[in-house]
């Protein structure tokens, strides 16, 4: 919500020599002199969630606006991201479920070759795969959420949930669009929006590649 926000959490490099330990977080009101932002990005999807590029010119922030301690910004970011990943996994599942339900309903209404398309095995198998994948993602995500609730370490589990759920949402929404045929490509139906919205879940809060790094690092550590 960058283009609208009244305040932001800003991660800065306060000591480049220290790498991750040189990152510090601040709470910054957007009215602060020196704060600038560009017009909203034109995106493929999630068009009600605005984003933009921000830049800062000699922006002075009072010391009391420091979030956590100096040099602890990376820790702050990572702890919110672990939880955030569960949120994005859940978002991906919701999008996929909506697309699945629409495709299931449409497959009963649309007829080709004298029968509803859900009577063609090709469509049945697509629906079966979609339902299976949605359930698998849901279980991975609930596992991570339960671990977080119990205060357990859940980095790799959250990463697995985010990785699988987001890629699952790409596959499921695309199958749902395919089941709609030409109608799926039209904005008259919701399904093309689900495809566009799902696409970002593989990118934000850590791309799939980053999730794989987190997961493999935890495996190799053991």
């Amino acid at each position: 919500m960058g283009p609208k926000a009244d305040a932001i959490v800003l991660f800065t490099m306060t000591d480049p020599a220290k790498g991750n330990k040189g990152i510090t977080a601040f709470l910054v009101p957007t009215s602060t002199p020196g704060f600038n932002r560009q017009p909203p990005d034109k995106k493929m999807g999630i068009n009600a969630a605005w984003s933009c590029t921000m830049y800062f010119e000699d922006m002075k922030v009072p010391a009391k606006n420091l979030l956590g301690k100096e040099g602890e910004g990376f820790k702050v970011a990572m702890s919110t991201l672990d939880g955030g990943r569960i949120g994005i996994a859940a978002q991906a599942i919701g999008i996929a479920r909506a697309a699945f339900e629409e495709a299931l309903a449409y497959s009963g209404e649309r007829k080709t070759f004298g029968k509803p398309i859900r009577d063609h095995q090709a469509i049945q198998f697509m629906l079966a795969d979609m339902a299976t994948e949605i359930d698998a993602a849901r279980l991975l995500t609930l596992r991570a959420a339960l671990m977080k609730d119990k205060g357990q370490r859940h980095s790799p589990e959250s990463a697995m949930a985010k990785l699988y759920a987001s890629e699952m949402a790409g596959r499921v929404t695309n199958k749902a669009l395919q089941i709609h045929g030409g109608m799926g490509y039209s904005k008259e139906m919701d399904v093309e929006r689900h495809v566009r919205d799902a696409r970002i879940t593989e990118i934000y809060e850590g791309t799939s590649e980053i999730q794989r790094i987190v997961i493999s690092a935890s495996l190799l550590k053991e």
Binding site: K42, K43, G45, N174, Q178, E192, R199
Partner: protein, 382 residues
């Protein structure tokens, strides 16, 4: 199989590449954003022979063959798929009239299409209730004195609002597939009503409209082929059309891969260009491998058609594989671009949206699999 290009093929490819780079690509983003039908471009494509690549010179075509056509489609598609779909449909309509038309029909309509005078051609087969199942179409044509009178509704007609010449399928009797006939209808004919353009996920510069025929009269001589041959004409045209869409898919995928390679060399993460990460290098290796396989399937189908050999199965295999591959490649390209892949400052999100329809039109992936499987079992006598 020999894929060395002939002099003619090289010439057509280079001609297409030049106009793609100089004219088509620079406006592709605006064409998408503003849903702008690239009308003036078709005039230029016509002048260069790209609207009738496989049409005899006698009717204004380039007479350069099917492989040349596929190569030209790849080049224009790499720049702008909205532009190339209109080019594909125009070539398709011109070829169909060339194959089945009378001398008068060819002289009048093929020359208009190929020169760009007709702006574009349209191919009106699909209806609200008949897409994959084209044989279920309901638009009717009845004879009244020296005219055919058309009534009914068409859906998803590419370039429908601009096309000067359309080929339109209608039912001349109730006998299933044998009751279909094909007609030439000129744009602006009274009784031909163009509906509101579809708002689409991609191909936003291409004009996709529903058409209504209300007692739309055309002269008897506008019947294309024989009465009752419509289904056959549609299948022949679609077999060829699938080569065009395969080529479109290859073109878009190539553009996406090229953009990814450029980006991966420039973008840095963890202190090195992302092109250095094995995860991404392998992704690009797979993209290149699948793209090459797609291009070869497409060119093989084109070669067979050019040699006048059966190519139905090969065209369906090409269409299936090329369209699925282009979707996968464009999706990977967005991934390689990270957040920048999701915003329209980079072209890859447009490539992905444009590619998405390729597994749907000119026969969905499921329909291609039906055709391929049927051919497999036909070959073993089952």
């Amino acid at each position: 199989m020999d894929f060395t290009l002939t002099e003619t093929q090289t010439l057509i490819r280079d001609t297409a590449r030049k106009v793609a780079r100089e004219v088509v690509a620079p406006q592709a983003r605006a064409v998408d954003r503003e849903e702008r039908f690239p009308k003036e471009v078709y005039t230029q494509l016509g002048e260069l022979g790209l609207l009738g690549v496989n049409v005899p010179e006698a009717y204004g075509g380039a007479e350069a063959g099917v492989v040349s056509y596929a190569l030209a489609m790849m080049e224009i598609s790499a720049a702008c798929a909205s532009t190339s779909v209109g080019m594909a449909v125009t070539n398709m309509a011109a070829e169909l009239i060339c194959t089945y038309g009378t001398e008068e029909q060819k002289k009048k309509h093929v020359t208009a299409l190929v020169s760009g005078r007709a702006v574009a051609g349209a191919f009106a087969l699909s209806e609200p209730h008949a897409g994959s199942d084209a044989g279920a179409l309901r638009t009717s044509a009845t004879r009244k004195g020296d005219r055919w009178v058309l009534n009914g509704a068409k859906q998803w007609i590419t370039s429908g609002a601009y096309a000067g010449v359309m080929v339109v399928w209608a039912r001349t009797s109730s006998e299933g597939n044998k009751g279909l006939s094909c007609f030439i209808v000129e744009g602006g004919t009274p009784g031909l009503i163009v509906g509101r353009a579809e708002d689409k996920m991609g191909l936003r510069g291409s004009n996709t409209v529903p058409l209504t025929f209300e007692s739309c009269e055309v002269p008897l001589e506008n019947l294309l082929g024989r009465e009752g041959d419509g289904f056959k004409l549609a299948m022949v045209a679609l077999d060829g059309g699938r080569i065009g869409i395969s080529a479109q898919a290859c073109g878009v995928a190539r553009a996406a891969l090229e953009a990814s390679v450029r980006y991966a060399k420039e973008r840095k993460a963890f202190g090195q260009p992302i092109a250095e990460f094995q995860g991404l290098r392998w992704m690009m290796a797979d993209m290149q491998t699948r793209l090459s396989a797609a291009e070869l399937l497409c060119l093989r189908a084109a070669q067979l058609k050019e040699a006048k050999r059966p190519f139905s199965r090969e065209a369906s295999m090409a269409k299936l594989f090329c369209s699925e591959t282009s979707n996968w490649v464009c999706d990977r390209a967005v991934q390689i671009h990270g957040g920048y892949g999701y915003i329209d400052e980079f072209p890859v999100e447009r490539y992905l949206r444009d590619a998405r329809v390729q597994t749907i039109y000119e026969g969905t992936s499921e329909i291609q699999r039906l055709v391929i499987a049927r051919e497999i079992f036909k070959a073993v006598g089952a």
